[in-house]
Protein backbone atom coordinates (compact mmCIF):
# COMPACT_ATOMS: atom_id res chain seq x y z
CA UNK A 1 0.00 0.00 0.00
CA UNK A 2 1.22 3.47 -0.93
CA UNK A 3 0.49 4.93 2.42
CA UNK A 4 3.13 2.86 4.16
CA UNK A 5 1.20 2.12 7.35
CA UNK A 6 -0.71 -1.09 7.87
CA UNK A 7 -3.86 -0.33 9.89
CA UNK A 8 -3.69 -3.73 11.58
CA UNK A 9 -0.32 -2.88 13.11
CA UNK A 10 -0.29 -0.64 16.16
CA UNK A 11 2.32 2.13 16.19
CA UNK A 12 5.30 1.15 18.37
CA UNK A 13 4.63 3.76 21.00
CA UNK A 14 1.20 2.28 21.58
CA UNK A 15 2.07 -1.38 21.70
CA UNK A 16 3.95 -1.38 25.00
CA UNK A 17 2.93 -4.56 26.83
CA UNK A 18 1.46 -4.26 30.31
CA UNK A 19 2.75 -6.91 32.72
CA UNK A 20 0.00 -8.14 34.98
CA UNK A 21 0.38 -10.20 38.15
CA UNK A 22 0.11 -13.97 37.56
CA UNK A 23 -3.16 -14.07 39.50
CA UNK A 24 -4.78 -12.09 36.65
CA UNK A 25 -3.48 -14.33 33.86
CA UNK A 26 -6.85 -15.86 33.00
CA UNK A 27 -9.00 -12.85 33.81
CA UNK A 28 -10.77 -11.18 30.93
CA UNK A 29 -9.81 -7.52 30.63
CA UNK A 30 -12.56 -4.95 31.06
CA UNK A 31 -12.79 -2.89 27.88
CA UNK A 32 -15.90 -0.88 28.58
CA UNK A 33 -18.37 -0.15 31.33
CA UNK A 34 -21.84 1.01 30.43
CA UNK A 35 -23.05 3.85 32.65
CA UNK A 36 -26.26 5.38 31.28
CA UNK A 37 -26.88 8.97 32.32
CA UNK A 38 -29.84 11.28 31.92
CA UNK A 39 -30.39 14.99 32.31
CA UNK A 40 -33.73 16.75 32.70
CA UNK A 41 -33.77 20.32 31.45
CA UNK A 42 -35.96 23.20 32.55
CA UNK A 43 -36.41 25.21 29.37
CA UNK A 44 -37.28 28.91 29.54
CA UNK A 45 -39.03 29.59 26.26
CA UNK A 46 -38.73 33.39 26.05
CA UNK A 47 -41.38 35.87 24.94
CA UNK A 48 -42.18 34.58 21.45
CA UNK A 49 -42.28 30.89 22.31
CA UNK A 50 -44.25 31.63 25.49
CA UNK A 51 -46.90 33.40 23.39
CA UNK A 52 -46.83 30.49 20.93
CA UNK A 53 -47.37 27.92 23.70
CA UNK A 54 -50.19 29.98 25.25
CA UNK A 55 -51.71 30.19 21.76
CA UNK A 56 -51.52 26.41 21.40
CA UNK A 57 -53.71 26.10 24.50
CA UNK A 58 -56.34 28.21 22.63
CA UNK A 59 -55.93 26.04 19.46
CA UNK A 60 -54.19 28.97 17.74
CA UNK A 61 -50.87 28.67 15.86
CA UNK A 62 -48.86 31.88 16.25
CA UNK A 63 -45.84 32.90 14.18
CA UNK A 64 -43.28 35.71 14.22
CA UNK A 65 -43.10 38.24 11.41
CA UNK A 66 -39.68 39.26 10.11
CA UNK A 67 -39.57 43.08 10.28
CA UNK A 68 -37.46 43.26 7.11
CA UNK A 69 -38.90 40.65 4.73
CA UNK A 70 -42.38 40.12 6.16
CA UNK A 71 -41.79 36.36 6.26
CA UNK A 72 -43.72 34.45 8.94
CA UNK A 73 -41.98 31.81 11.05
CA UNK A 74 -43.57 29.00 13.04
CA UNK A 75 -42.60 28.11 15.72
CA UNK A 76 -41.51 31.66 16.52
CA UNK A 77 -38.08 32.25 18.06
CA UNK A 78 -38.15 36.00 18.59
CA UNK A 79 -35.61 36.59 15.85
CA UNK A 80 -35.79 36.34 12.08
CA UNK A 81 -33.50 33.69 10.57
CA UNK A 82 -33.36 35.67 7.30
CA UNK A 83 -32.57 39.17 8.54
CA UNK A 84 -31.23 38.46 12.02
CA UNK A 85 -33.56 41.18 13.34
CA UNK A 86 -35.61 40.89 16.51
CA UNK A 87 -39.25 40.30 15.69
CA UNK A 88 -41.91 42.59 17.17
CA UNK A 89 -45.13 41.37 15.55
CA UNK A 90 -46.92 38.04 15.84
CA UNK A 91 -49.67 36.72 13.60
CA UNK A 92 -51.97 33.73 13.74
CA UNK A 93 -51.49 31.23 10.92
CA UNK A 94 -54.00 28.64 9.77
CA UNK A 95 -54.32 25.11 11.10
CA UNK A 96 -54.70 24.03 7.48
CA UNK A 97 -51.71 23.68 5.15
CA UNK A 98 -49.87 21.38 2.81
CA UNK A 99 -47.19 18.69 2.85
CA UNK A 100 -43.93 20.07 1.51
CA UNK A 101 -42.23 16.66 1.71
CA UNK A 102 -42.21 13.61 3.94
CA UNK A 103 -40.73 10.25 4.80
CA UNK A 104 -42.28 7.02 5.92
CA UNK A 105 -40.42 6.19 9.13
CA UNK A 106 -40.12 2.47 9.80
CA UNK A 107 -38.14 2.77 13.03
CA UNK A 108 -39.65 3.01 16.51
CA UNK A 109 -38.66 6.26 18.25
CA UNK A 110 -37.74 6.53 21.90
CA UNK A 111 -39.58 9.77 22.65
CA UNK A 112 -42.91 8.41 21.36
CA UNK A 113 -43.36 4.78 22.42
CA UNK A 114 -47.06 5.13 21.53
CA UNK A 115 -46.23 5.77 17.88
CA UNK A 116 -46.09 2.50 15.96
CA UNK A 117 -44.09 2.42 12.73
CA UNK A 118 -44.61 2.84 9.86
CA UNK A 119 -45.70 6.45 10.29
CA UNK A 120 -45.46 9.54 8.09
CA UNK A 121 -43.08 12.27 9.26
CA UNK A 122 -43.78 15.29 7.08
CA UNK A 123 -42.78 18.91 6.63
CA UNK A 124 -46.14 20.63 6.97
CA UNK A 125 -46.42 24.29 5.94
CA UNK A 126 -49.47 25.97 7.54
CA UNK A 127 -51.26 28.53 5.35
CA UNK A 128 -49.88 31.94 6.26
CA UNK A 129 -46.45 30.62 7.28
CA UNK A 130 -43.34 30.85 5.12
CA UNK A 131 -41.79 27.73 6.63
CA UNK A 132 -42.85 24.26 7.55
CA UNK A 133 -41.96 22.09 10.48
CA UNK A 134 -41.86 18.37 11.11
CA UNK A 135 -45.29 16.95 11.87
CA UNK A 136 -47.10 13.63 11.96
CA UNK A 137 -49.50 12.95 9.09
CA UNK A 138 -52.11 10.24 9.77
CA UNK A 139 -55.58 9.19 8.71
CA UNK A 140 -54.23 7.96 5.37
CA UNK A 141 -52.18 4.98 4.22
CA UNK A 142 -48.46 5.98 4.07
CA UNK A 143 -48.25 4.95 0.39
CA UNK A 144 -50.95 7.49 -0.47
CA UNK A 145 -49.23 10.55 1.01
CA UNK A 146 -48.01 13.01 -1.65
CA UNK A 147 -45.84 16.12 -1.86
CA UNK A 148 -48.31 19.02 -2.09
CA UNK A 149 -51.17 17.18 -0.34
CA UNK A 150 -53.53 19.48 1.62
CA UNK A 151 -53.82 18.65 5.33
CA UNK A 152 -55.53 20.02 8.43
CA UNK A 153 -54.60 19.82 12.12
CA UNK A 154 -56.37 17.35 14.39
CA UNK A 155 -56.37 18.83 17.90
CA UNK A 156 -56.64 17.16 21.27
CA UNK A 157 -60.05 17.39 22.96
CA UNK A 158 -60.57 20.87 24.48
CA UNK A 159 -60.35 19.64 28.06
CA UNK A 160 -56.90 18.10 27.41
CA UNK A 161 -55.27 21.17 25.86
CA UNK A 162 -51.96 22.24 27.39
CA UNK A 163 -49.30 24.84 26.64
CA UNK A 164 -47.59 22.47 24.21
CA UNK A 165 -47.10 21.79 20.50
CA UNK A 166 -48.30 18.28 21.31
CA UNK A 167 -51.89 19.66 21.30
CA UNK A 168 -51.86 18.91 17.58
CA UNK A 169 -52.15 15.12 17.56
CA UNK A 170 -51.45 14.88 13.84
CA UNK A 171 -52.45 16.35 10.48
CA UNK A 172 -54.83 14.56 8.14
CA UNK A 173 -55.89 15.00 4.51
CA UNK A 174 -58.62 17.56 3.83
CA UNK A 175 -59.48 16.17 0.41
CA UNK A 176 -58.76 19.51 -1.33
CA UNK A 177 -56.75 19.47 -4.59
CA UNK A 178 -52.98 19.16 -4.14
CA UNK A 179 -50.74 22.23 -4.16
CA UNK A 180 -48.27 22.27 -7.06
CA UNK A 181 -44.72 23.00 -5.88
CA UNK A 182 -43.00 24.40 -8.91
CA UNK A 183 -39.41 24.49 -7.66
CA UNK A 184 -37.25 23.40 -4.76
CA UNK A 185 -37.65 26.46 -2.56
CA UNK A 186 -39.55 26.48 0.67
CA UNK A 187 -42.56 28.70 0.05
CA UNK A 188 -41.54 32.34 0.10
CA UNK A 189 -42.34 35.69 -1.33
CA UNK A 190 -40.83 36.65 -4.69
CA UNK A 191 -37.14 37.42 -4.31
CA UNK A 192 -36.86 35.49 -1.05
CA UNK A 193 -34.23 33.09 -2.34
CA UNK A 194 -31.39 35.00 -0.69
Amino acid sequence: MGYNQDPSVQPDALSGKVTLPASLDDVEMVQAVRTPAAIDYIATPGASLSAYLRGMKQKKILGDVCPVTGQVFVPPRGVSPVSGQRTTEMVEVSDQGYVESFNVTRLPIKSRPDLKPPYVSAWVVPDGSNVGSIALVAGIEPEEVRIGMRVGAVWKPDDELEESAANILHWEPTGEPDVVLDDLRIIGKPGDNQ
Partner: protein, 387 residues
Protein backbone atom coordinates in the same frame (compact mmCIF):
# COMPACT_ATOMS: atom_id res chain seq x y z
CA UNK B 1 -2.53 37.04 -2.28
CA UNK B 2 -1.84 38.22 1.22
CA UNK B 3 -2.09 34.73 2.68
CA UNK B 4 1.03 32.60 3.00
CA UNK B 5 1.07 29.23 1.31
CA UNK B 6 0.27 26.13 3.35
CA UNK B 7 0.52 22.43 2.63
CA UNK B 8 -0.25 18.99 4.03
CA UNK B 9 2.84 16.86 4.71
CA UNK B 10 1.34 14.12 6.84
CA UNK B 11 -1.91 12.16 7.11
CA UNK B 12 -2.74 9.62 9.80
CA UNK B 13 -5.86 7.55 10.23
CA UNK B 14 -6.97 4.90 12.66
CA UNK B 15 -8.52 1.68 11.53
CA UNK B 16 -12.22 2.55 11.57
CA UNK B 17 -14.66 0.13 13.18
CA UNK B 18 -18.05 0.10 14.86
CA UNK B 19 -16.26 -0.40 18.19
CA UNK B 20 -12.60 0.32 18.87
CA UNK B 21 -12.78 -1.29 22.28
CA UNK B 22 -9.00 -1.65 22.41
CA UNK B 23 -8.45 2.08 22.89
CA UNK B 24 -9.88 4.94 24.93
CA UNK B 25 -10.67 8.27 23.29
CA UNK B 26 -7.14 9.37 24.13
CA UNK B 27 -5.66 6.22 22.58
CA UNK B 28 -7.76 6.69 19.48
CA UNK B 29 -6.63 10.26 18.80
CA UNK B 30 -3.02 9.44 19.60
CA UNK B 31 -3.00 6.58 17.09
CA UNK B 32 -4.06 8.92 14.25
CA UNK B 33 -1.76 11.74 15.40
CA UNK B 34 1.20 9.38 15.68
CA UNK B 35 0.70 8.06 12.16
CA UNK B 36 0.43 11.60 10.76
CA UNK B 37 3.68 12.57 12.50
CA UNK B 38 5.36 9.43 11.19
CA UNK B 39 4.31 10.15 7.59
CA UNK B 40 5.50 13.76 7.92
CA UNK B 41 8.77 12.68 9.51
CA UNK B 42 8.03 14.95 12.47
CA UNK B 43 7.95 14.58 16.24
CA UNK B 44 5.72 16.17 18.85
CA UNK B 45 8.44 18.81 19.36
CA UNK B 46 7.92 20.09 15.80
CA UNK B 47 4.25 20.88 16.38
CA UNK B 48 3.42 24.49 17.29
CA UNK B 49 -0.33 24.07 17.92
CA UNK B 50 -3.17 21.55 17.77
CA UNK B 51 -6.60 22.20 16.26
CA UNK B 52 -9.16 19.56 17.13
CA UNK B 53 -12.74 18.93 16.06
CA UNK B 54 -15.53 16.59 17.03
CA UNK B 55 -19.33 16.51 17.00
CA UNK B 56 -21.36 17.73 20.00
CA UNK B 57 -20.13 16.69 23.48
CA UNK B 58 -23.61 15.30 23.95
CA UNK B 59 -22.74 12.28 21.80
CA UNK B 60 -20.24 10.60 24.14
CA UNK B 61 -21.24 12.63 27.17
CA UNK B 62 -17.69 13.88 27.76
CA UNK B 63 -17.67 17.62 28.25
CA UNK B 64 -14.88 19.54 26.50
CA UNK B 65 -12.81 16.45 25.62
CA UNK B 66 -10.14 18.68 24.05
CA UNK B 67 -8.93 19.48 27.55
CA UNK B 68 -8.58 15.85 28.59
CA UNK B 69 -6.99 14.97 25.22
CA UNK B 70 -4.27 17.65 25.32
CA UNK B 71 -1.75 15.25 26.85
CA UNK B 72 -2.48 12.46 24.37
CA UNK B 73 -1.90 14.98 21.58
CA UNK B 74 1.45 16.13 22.92
CA UNK B 75 0.32 19.68 23.33
CA UNK B 76 0.66 20.40 27.04
CA UNK B 77 1.98 23.97 27.15
CA UNK B 78 1.02 24.59 23.53
CA UNK B 79 -2.10 26.18 22.05
CA UNK B 80 -5.05 23.83 21.55
CA UNK B 81 -8.21 24.98 19.81
CA UNK B 82 -11.54 23.19 19.41
CA UNK B 83 -13.73 23.78 16.36
CA UNK B 84 -17.43 22.95 16.36
CA UNK B 85 -19.67 23.02 13.27
CA UNK B 86 -21.81 19.87 13.66
CA UNK B 87 -21.16 17.16 11.03
CA UNK B 88 -18.96 19.41 8.89
CA UNK B 89 -16.59 19.90 11.81
CA UNK B 90 -13.77 17.75 10.44
CA UNK B 91 -13.60 19.99 7.38
CA UNK B 92 -13.94 23.25 9.31
CA UNK B 93 -11.23 22.09 11.70
CA UNK B 94 -8.80 21.59 8.82
CA UNK B 95 -9.76 25.02 7.42
CA UNK B 96 -9.14 26.74 10.77
CA UNK B 97 -5.80 24.93 11.14
CA UNK B 98 -4.86 26.03 7.61
CA UNK B 99 -5.73 29.63 8.43
CA UNK B 100 -3.32 29.59 11.38
CA UNK B 101 -0.51 28.61 9.01
CA UNK B 102 -1.63 30.94 6.20
CA UNK B 103 -1.85 33.82 8.66
CA UNK B 104 1.68 33.23 9.84
CA UNK B 105 0.55 32.52 13.41
CA UNK B 106 2.06 29.02 13.53
CA UNK B 107 4.57 27.26 11.30
CA UNK B 108 3.46 23.66 11.74
CA UNK B 109 0.06 22.59 13.06
CA UNK B 110 -1.42 19.19 13.87
CA UNK B 111 -5.14 19.02 13.15
CA UNK B 112 -7.36 16.14 14.11
CA UNK B 113 -11.01 15.07 14.08
CA UNK B 114 -12.47 12.13 15.96
CA UNK B 115 -15.60 10.42 17.21
CA UNK B 116 -16.12 7.35 19.33
CA UNK B 117 -19.66 6.54 18.37
CA UNK B 118 -19.58 3.21 20.23
CA UNK B 119 -19.58 5.24 23.45
CA UNK B 120 -22.45 7.39 22.30
CA UNK B 121 -25.87 7.35 20.74
CA UNK B 122 -25.69 9.91 17.98
CA UNK B 123 -29.08 9.14 16.49
CA UNK B 124 -31.02 9.89 19.67
CA UNK B 125 -28.66 12.67 20.72
CA UNK B 126 -29.90 14.39 17.55
CA UNK B 127 -33.58 13.77 18.29
CA UNK B 128 -34.34 15.40 21.62
CA UNK B 129 -37.93 15.88 22.70
CA UNK B 130 -38.92 19.52 23.18
CA UNK B 131 -42.25 21.11 24.11
CA UNK B 132 -42.02 23.55 21.18
CA UNK B 133 -42.14 21.09 18.30
CA UNK B 134 -43.53 17.66 17.53
CA UNK B 135 -41.00 15.07 18.66
CA UNK B 136 -41.35 12.46 15.95
CA UNK B 137 -38.07 12.86 14.07
CA UNK B 138 -35.86 9.76 14.00
CA UNK B 139 -32.28 11.02 13.70
CA UNK B 140 -30.47 12.50 10.72
CA UNK B 141 -32.16 10.11 8.28
CA UNK B 142 -35.53 11.37 9.46
CA UNK B 143 -34.44 14.92 8.72
CA UNK B 144 -32.76 14.38 5.35
CA UNK B 145 -35.16 11.87 3.76
CA UNK B 146 -37.89 14.44 2.92
CA UNK B 147 -35.22 16.61 1.28
CA UNK B 148 -34.11 13.61 -0.77
CA UNK B 149 -37.73 12.99 -1.74
CA UNK B 150 -37.97 16.59 -3.00
CA UNK B 151 -34.85 16.00 -5.11
CA UNK B 152 -36.20 12.74 -6.52
CA UNK B 153 -39.47 14.37 -7.53
CA UNK B 154 -37.83 17.51 -8.92
CA UNK B 155 -35.13 15.74 -10.94
CA UNK B 156 -37.21 12.80 -12.15
CA UNK B 157 -34.26 10.55 -11.30
CA UNK B 158 -34.83 6.79 -11.54
CA UNK B 159 -35.74 5.33 -8.15
CA UNK B 160 -32.60 3.19 -7.77
CA UNK B 161 -29.91 5.87 -8.36
CA UNK B 162 -29.29 5.98 -4.61
CA UNK B 163 -28.68 2.23 -4.58
CA UNK B 164 -26.07 2.64 -7.32
CA UNK B 165 -24.18 5.18 -5.20
CA UNK B 166 -24.38 2.93 -2.14
CA UNK B 167 -22.95 -0.06 -3.98
CA UNK B 168 -20.21 2.02 -5.64
CA UNK B 169 -18.97 3.52 -2.37
CA UNK B 170 -18.96 0.12 -0.60
CA UNK B 171 -17.00 -1.34 -3.51
CA UNK B 172 -14.54 1.54 -3.32
CA UNK B 173 -14.10 0.83 0.39
CA UNK B 174 -12.75 -2.63 -0.41
CA UNK B 175 -9.63 -0.84 -1.70
CA UNK B 176 -9.18 1.12 1.54
CA UNK B 177 -7.88 -0.98 4.44
CA UNK B 178 -8.88 1.74 6.94
CA UNK B 179 -12.56 1.75 5.88
CA UNK B 180 -15.09 0.49 8.40
CA UNK B 181 -17.59 -1.31 6.14
CA UNK B 182 -15.80 -4.04 4.18
CA UNK B 183 -18.60 -6.07 2.63
CA UNK B 184 -17.24 -8.33 -0.11
CA UNK B 185 -20.63 -10.02 -0.54
CA UNK B 186 -22.67 -6.86 -1.21
CA UNK B 187 -24.57 -6.81 -4.51
CA UNK B 188 -26.90 -4.31 -6.15
CA UNK B 189 -29.86 -6.57 -5.39
CA UNK B 190 -28.90 -6.75 -1.73
CA UNK B 191 -28.79 -2.95 -1.52
CA UNK B 192 -32.20 -2.68 -3.20
CA UNK B 193 -33.70 -5.34 -0.94
CA UNK B 194 -32.33 -3.89 2.31
CA UNK B 195 -35.09 -2.54 4.56
CA UNK B 196 -36.46 0.97 4.20
CA UNK B 197 -35.66 2.90 7.39
CA UNK B 198 -36.93 6.33 6.40
CA UNK B 199 -38.61 5.69 3.06
CA UNK B 200 -37.10 6.66 0.54
CA UNK B 201 -33.81 5.84 2.39
CA UNK B 202 -32.86 2.20 2.75
CA UNK B 203 -30.58 0.73 5.40
CA UNK B 204 -27.86 0.09 2.81
CA UNK B 205 -28.09 3.70 1.60
CA UNK B 206 -27.18 4.95 5.07
CA UNK B 207 -23.81 5.64 6.71
CA UNK B 208 -22.60 3.40 9.55
CA UNK B 209 -21.68 4.50 13.09
CA UNK B 210 -17.91 4.33 13.48
CA UNK B 211 -15.12 4.86 15.96
CA UNK B 212 -12.08 6.60 14.54
CA UNK B 213 -9.77 9.56 14.22
CA UNK B 214 -8.01 11.29 11.35
CA UNK B 215 -5.09 13.70 11.66
CA UNK B 216 -3.05 15.89 9.34
CA UNK B 217 0.19 17.81 9.70
CA UNK B 218 0.02 21.22 8.00
CA UNK B 219 3.04 23.39 7.45
CA UNK B 220 4.05 26.65 5.82
CA UNK B 221 5.84 27.17 2.51
CA UNK B 222 9.30 26.97 4.04
CA UNK B 223 8.43 23.74 5.82
CA UNK B 224 6.84 22.21 2.74
CA UNK B 225 9.77 23.10 0.48
CA UNK B 226 12.22 21.61 2.97
CA UNK B 227 10.09 18.48 3.37
CA UNK B 228 11.56 15.29 1.98
CA UNK B 229 8.38 13.50 0.99
CA UNK B 230 5.00 13.96 -0.70
CA UNK B 231 3.24 17.31 -0.28
CA UNK B 232 -0.34 18.40 -0.94
CA UNK B 233 -0.48 22.17 -1.49
CA UNK B 234 -3.63 23.92 -0.33
CA UNK B 235 -5.07 25.91 -3.25
CA UNK B 236 -8.20 27.19 -1.55
CA UNK B 237 -10.37 26.85 1.55
CA UNK B 238 -13.88 28.12 2.24
CA UNK B 239 -16.62 27.88 4.86
CA UNK B 240 -20.23 29.08 4.82
CA UNK B 241 -23.32 28.70 7.01
CA UNK B 242 -27.01 29.56 6.92
CA UNK B 243 -30.23 29.13 8.88
CA UNK B 244 -31.89 25.75 8.36
CA UNK B 245 -35.42 26.99 7.78
CA UNK B 246 -36.47 30.22 6.10
CA UNK B 247 -38.87 31.21 3.35
CA UNK B 248 -37.32 30.83 -0.08
CA UNK B 249 -34.64 28.40 1.06
CA UNK B 250 -33.63 25.83 -1.54
CA UNK B 251 -33.44 22.80 0.71
CA UNK B 252 -31.82 20.58 -1.92
CA UNK B 253 -29.08 23.03 -2.91
CA UNK B 254 -28.75 25.58 -0.10
CA UNK B 255 -27.26 28.95 -0.98
CA UNK B 256 -24.43 28.44 1.54
CA UNK B 257 -23.36 25.31 -0.37
CA UNK B 258 -23.31 27.10 -3.73
CA UNK B 259 -21.54 30.16 -2.31
CA UNK B 260 -18.92 28.04 -0.55
CA UNK B 261 -18.15 26.10 -3.75
CA UNK B 262 -17.95 29.30 -5.83
CA UNK B 263 -15.51 30.80 -3.31
CA UNK B 264 -13.17 27.81 -3.05
CA UNK B 265 -13.10 27.20 -6.81
CA UNK B 266 -12.36 30.90 -7.49
CA UNK B 267 -9.42 30.76 -5.05
CA UNK B 268 -8.07 27.66 -6.79
CA UNK B 269 -8.58 29.08 -10.31
CA UNK B 270 -11.14 26.42 -11.18
CA UNK B 271 -13.70 27.46 -13.78
CA UNK B 272 -14.82 23.99 -14.89
CA UNK B 273 -14.78 21.70 -11.86
CA UNK B 274 -15.66 18.53 -13.73
CA UNK B 275 -12.74 19.02 -16.12
CA UNK B 276 -10.18 20.41 -13.73
CA UNK B 277 -10.67 18.22 -10.65
CA UNK B 278 -9.24 14.71 -10.73
CA UNK B 279 -10.67 13.24 -7.52
CA UNK B 280 -13.54 14.23 -5.25
CA UNK B 281 -14.07 13.34 -1.60
CA UNK B 282 -17.60 14.46 -0.89
CA UNK B 283 -19.66 14.19 2.30
CA UNK B 284 -22.38 11.69 1.37
CA UNK B 285 -23.98 10.19 4.51
CA UNK B 286 -27.08 9.14 2.57
CA UNK B 287 -26.55 7.87 -0.96
CA UNK B 288 -28.79 10.39 -2.76
CA UNK B 289 -26.59 13.22 -1.55
CA UNK B 290 -24.02 12.30 -4.22
CA UNK B 291 -26.15 13.48 -7.19
CA UNK B 292 -27.53 16.35 -5.08
CA UNK B 293 -24.05 17.69 -4.24
CA UNK B 294 -22.77 17.08 -7.78
CA UNK B 295 -25.38 19.64 -8.88
CA UNK B 296 -25.02 22.03 -5.97
CA UNK B 297 -21.22 22.17 -6.33
CA UNK B 298 -21.29 22.71 -10.08
CA UNK B 299 -20.05 19.31 -11.30
CA UNK B 300 -23.40 18.78 -13.06
CA UNK B 301 -26.27 20.92 -14.33
CA UNK B 302 -29.30 21.27 -12.04
CA UNK B 303 -31.46 18.15 -12.24
CA UNK B 304 -28.76 16.20 -14.08
CA UNK B 305 -26.45 14.95 -11.30
CA UNK B 306 -28.12 11.54 -11.24
CA UNK B 307 -27.09 11.01 -14.87
CA UNK B 308 -23.43 11.11 -13.82
CA UNK B 309 -24.16 8.37 -11.30
CA UNK B 310 -26.14 6.33 -13.79
CA UNK B 311 -23.38 6.56 -16.44
CA UNK B 312 -20.67 5.49 -13.99
CA UNK B 313 -18.87 8.86 -14.25
CA UNK B 314 -18.23 8.86 -10.49
CA UNK B 315 -16.80 5.34 -10.35
CA UNK B 316 -13.13 4.91 -9.61
CA UNK B 317 -12.88 2.43 -12.46
CA UNK B 318 -13.89 4.00 -15.77
CA UNK B 319 -15.27 7.27 -14.39
CA UNK B 320 -13.98 10.69 -15.40
CA UNK B 321 -14.78 12.21 -11.98
CA UNK B 322 -14.09 9.55 -9.33
CA UNK B 323 -16.08 10.38 -6.18
CA UNK B 324 -15.22 8.90 -2.78
CA UNK B 325 -12.54 6.41 -3.81
CA UNK B 326 -11.93 5.88 -0.08
CA UNK B 327 -15.45 4.50 0.31
CA UNK B 328 -16.73 7.81 1.70
CA UNK B 329 -19.00 8.48 4.66
CA UNK B 330 -21.23 5.60 3.51
CA UNK B 331 -18.39 3.23 4.47
CA UNK B 332 -16.85 5.07 7.44
CA UNK B 333 -18.55 7.58 9.73
CA UNK B 334 -16.84 8.67 12.94
CA UNK B 335 -18.87 11.90 12.73
CA UNK B 336 -16.32 14.40 14.03
CA UNK B 337 -13.63 12.89 11.80
CA UNK B 338 -15.77 12.30 8.69
CA UNK B 339 -15.16 15.75 7.21
CA UNK B 340 -11.45 15.62 7.92
CA UNK B 341 -11.22 12.19 6.29
CA UNK B 342 -12.63 13.77 3.10
CA UNK B 343 -9.99 16.53 3.25
CA UNK B 344 -7.20 14.07 4.12
CA UNK B 345 -8.17 11.60 1.40
CA UNK B 346 -8.15 14.46 -1.14
CA UNK B 347 -4.62 15.30 0.07
CA UNK B 348 -3.50 11.65 -0.21
CA UNK B 349 -4.72 11.57 -3.83
CA UNK B 350 -2.55 14.50 -4.93
CA UNK B 351 0.37 13.17 -2.87
CA UNK B 352 0.07 9.88 -4.79
CA UNK B 353 -0.24 8.10 -1.43
CA UNK B 354 -3.78 6.71 -1.62
CA UNK B 355 -2.59 3.15 -2.14
CA UNK B 356 -5.06 0.79 -3.79
CA UNK B 357 -7.64 3.56 -4.17
CA UNK B 358 -5.22 5.99 -5.84
CA UNK B 359 -6.58 7.81 -8.91
CA UNK B 360 -3.74 7.58 -11.42
CA UNK B 361 -2.00 10.89 -11.91
CA UNK B 362 -4.36 12.90 -9.68
CA UNK B 363 -3.05 16.49 -9.58
CA UNK B 364 -6.02 18.39 -8.17
CA UNK B 365 -8.51 17.08 -5.61
CA UNK B 366 -11.53 18.44 -3.77
CA UNK B 367 -12.52 17.79 -0.15
CA UNK B 368 -16.04 18.60 1.06
CA UNK B 369 -18.02 18.46 4.29
CA UNK B 370 -21.48 19.58 5.41
CA UNK B 371 -23.34 19.50 8.68
CA UNK B 372 -26.38 20.48 10.75
CA UNK B 373 -29.56 20.74 8.72
CA UNK B 374 -27.33 21.09 5.59
CA UNK B 375 -26.36 24.44 7.15
CA UNK B 376 -22.58 24.33 7.58
CA UNK B 377 -20.12 23.88 4.74
CA UNK B 378 -16.35 23.46 4.59
CA UNK B 379 -14.37 22.77 1.41
CA UNK B 380 -10.83 22.74 0.16
CA UNK B 381 -8.94 22.23 -3.07
CA UNK B 382 -5.49 20.66 -2.87
CA UNK B 383 -2.94 20.20 -5.61
CA UNK B 384 0.31 18.43 -6.33
CA UNK B 385 1.78 21.70 -7.63
CA UNK B 386 2.52 24.78 -5.58
CA UNK B 387 -0.20 27.40 -6.24
Amino acid sequence: MSKQRAAVIGVGQTKYASTRGDVSMAGLVREAAYRALEMAGKTWADIDAVVLGKAPDFFEGVMMPEIYLAEALGCVGKPILRVHTAGSVGGSTAVVATSLVQGGIHGTVLTLGFEKQSESNAMWALSLPSPFTTSINAGAGGYFSPIIRRYMEYSGAPELIGCMVALKDRQHALNNPYAHVQDHELTFDKVVESPMLWDPIRYSETCPSSDGACAMILTDETGAEAHDGPVAWIHGTAMRSEANNYGGRNVVSPKASEDCAADVFAQAGITNPREQIDAVEMYVPFSWYEPMWLESLGFAEKGEGWRMVESGATNMVGGDLPVNCSGGVLSTNPIGASGMIRFAEAALQVMGEAGAHQVDGAKTAFGHAYGGGAQYYAMWVVGAEKP
